[in-house]
């Protein structure tokens, strides 16, 4: 039987495995033994990770390592795919989003998501795309909507480019603008956490640079988790990096430490380009 001391000791061990700068910090998100997959085929094989608030955490790893599945578990999007299964806990501010009484719709309102490919709603204008999360949930107050449109578009550094054509179709914008539109759309519902699943993989270098600059601005107000298989991008934008391999968390540390002085051999081989 576990005694109080055992628990304390366990906690200390867990703390010791954390990057020094995170000891004692209340995590925004914490996963405990998070497993996910399809049927009994587990893509994620038990992830324990603490994600600090108001920081950019990169989730990096080769294709098929489960990094996308991981973020899709954090807003309960994974379970929408037929046959998907999830086990374990994911605590948002200490509350398990997979609790039996947790409402996935309420969870998703607190956690925004930006997808790999820009996916604005093709039937909606730029204006309506931005406030889609509000109007689809019943918000009708024109003043509030107008304010949300400007505020979110400014937040996504898109306002100056589109302010004169808000009634144009969202699909009429360039790829990079569409992705920033999708970021504005995610910001408009005022989430606490922003999940970004390889948000630049479909964009050219200029658009990528803009999004990366935006990410570093956004971390003042949001906890950001960004999936990337691009090492340079992880090192440019993130404060912390988690390295996934074959569904397992291999290493988690401050980005600078992980890149310059990795503890695990797998990590070192990956960042030096020996595989992946």
């Amino acid at each position: 039987m576990e005694t109080q001391e055992d628990l304390e000791a366990g906690r200390e061990v867990a703390e010791a495995s954390l990057p020094t700068s995170l000891r004692g910090v209340q995590p925004k998100f914490e996963t405990k033994g998070l497993k996910a997959g399809f049927g009994t085929n587990w893509v994620l094989k038990g992830i324990d990770l603490k994600i600090p608030p108001n920081r950019v955490t990169a989730v990096m790893g080769p294709s098929g390592c489960g990094k996308t599945t991981f973020v899709r578990c954090l807003n309960r999007l994974h379970e929408l795919t037929p046959g998907a299964t999830v086990e374990g806990e994911a605590l948002l501010d200490g509350e398990d989003i997979y609790d039996r009484n947790a409402d996935p719709v309420a969870v998703r309102r607190r956690i925004g998501m930006v997808f790999q490919k820009p996916n604005p709603f093709p039937t909606m204008s730029i204006y309506h795309n931005v406030v889609a999360g509000l109007t689809l949930n019943g918000e009708r107050n024109k003043k509030k909507l107008d304010h949300a449109v400007e505020h979110s578009l400014r937040g996504a550094y898109l306002w100056d480019e589109v302010k004169d054509k808000l009634s144009n179709s969202g699909a009429s914008l360039s790829g990079g603008q569409q992705q920033r539109l999708c970021i504005a759309r995610a910001l408009a519902v005022e989430p606490e956490v922003l999940l970004m699943d390889e948000p630049c993989s479909a964009l050219d270098p200029t658009a990528t640079a803009k999004i990366e600059e935006l990410i570093t601005q956004l971390k003042r107000d949001y906890t950001i988790i960004i999936v990337t298989h691009n090492l340079q991008q992880a090192s440019r934008v993130s404060d912390y990096t988690a390295f996934f391999y074959l569904g397992k968390l291999i290493e988690f540390d401050e980005t600078a430490t992980l890149f310059e002085n990795p503890k695990e051999e797998l990590t070192e081989r990956y960042i030096t380009g020996k595989f992946g």
């Binding site: 999007l77 039937t123 009634s167 179709s169 519902v189």
Partner: protein
């Protein structure tokens, strides 16, 4: 090494073969169009003498007494196709949504299969089924019975096209909406249907076109009356029934009335099909946004 210029025998034979295949394909297209052309031409030539304004405002004539009109059939058809559409659209669209959005459920699989069978069902059997369901208990042929039969015929068409047009809405749009904290039913109604609405409209128009031309089920459910309908539970005429009834009677003026009715029906179908093309065209050229 072969030259890129045609000189050898092989290359010139290949060119000839290419030509022959092209001509054969063109020929098959022409042969396929010929019957259609003759049918339409025949309908126009034979039906045109009957057409005048009166053809749309008068009821059918007595034997050997001019051409009259087909007002009773037009009003009866509008009434029955209209009621049938009102019944079939909510049920068909609902079923289509279910097939598309919950494909993994067993009920969805079963009813989707049933829907396919229903779509291939002989329409006279549908008519006889409605005869026992509506006509026998109410003891009269009626517009209601006709509308129910037409609704059953339209239902699988609308359900299938709804399913197909919703299935092609990218899953990324559903996920974008769900990720904003929008409940699933709202995502379906406000995002998925809104994106696939031109396909839905196409399905409904195709269903209407199909129902408007149906004759057999109306013979055993709606019957015929020489006047426009005045109630829902009385015999009710329809345009296809007029073609069938007057075309086989043998009086020369009635025969012309039948041709005229056929021309009206063909013209209506043409308009419906052009509207379908219009809707599909709008879908492919991109969707306009409104603020």
């Amino acid at each position: 090494m072969t030259s890129i210029f045609t000189s050898g025998r092989r290359q010139s034979w290949r060119r000839i073969f290419d030509r022959i295949m092209k001509v054969l394909i063109l020929l098959s297209v022409v042969i396929a169009i010929i019957p259609l052309f003759f049918v339409v031409a025949d309908v126009v030539v034979q039906g045109l003498p009957a057409i005048s304004l009166a053809f749309f405002t008068k009821n059918p004539p007595s034997p050997l007494a001019g051409y009259g009109g087909i007002l009773n059939g037009i009003e009866g058809s509008l009434l029955m196709v209209g009621m049938g559409t009102l019944i079939a659209v909510p049920l068909g669209v609902g079923a289509g949504i279910y097939f598309s959005e919950w494909p993994e459920s067993r009920l969805s699989f079963l009813s989707s299969f049933t829907n396919d069978v229903l779509a291939e069902f002989p329409t006279i059997v549908v008519g006889l089924f409605v005869y026992s369901l509506v006509v026998a208990p109410t003891r009269t042929f009626s517009a209601v019975a006709g509308a129910v039969a037409l609704a059953i015929i339209m239902l699988p068409i609308i359900a299938r096209t709804t399913e197909e047009s919703l299935k092609i809405v990218p899953v990324t749009l559903r996920e974008a909406s769900m990720a904003l904290g929008v409940p699933r039913w709202k995502t379906i109604f406000r995002v998925v249907i809104s994106t696939g609405k031109s396909g839905l409209a196409t399905g409904i128009l195709l269903g209407i076109a199909r129902a408007t031309g149906e004759t057999a089920p109306l013979v055993v459910t709606a019957g015929y009356l020489n006047f426009p309908p005045t109630g829902l539970f009385q015999q009710t005429a329809s345009v296809p029934y007029i073609i069938y009834n007057f075309g086989t009677a043998g009086y020369p003026n009635w025969t012309t009335v039948a041709w005229g009715a056929a021309l009206v029906l063909v013209a209506f179908m043409l308009i419906l099909n052009l509207s379908v093309k219009f809707f599909i065209g709008r879908r492919s050229t991109g969707v306009r946004a409104e603020i």
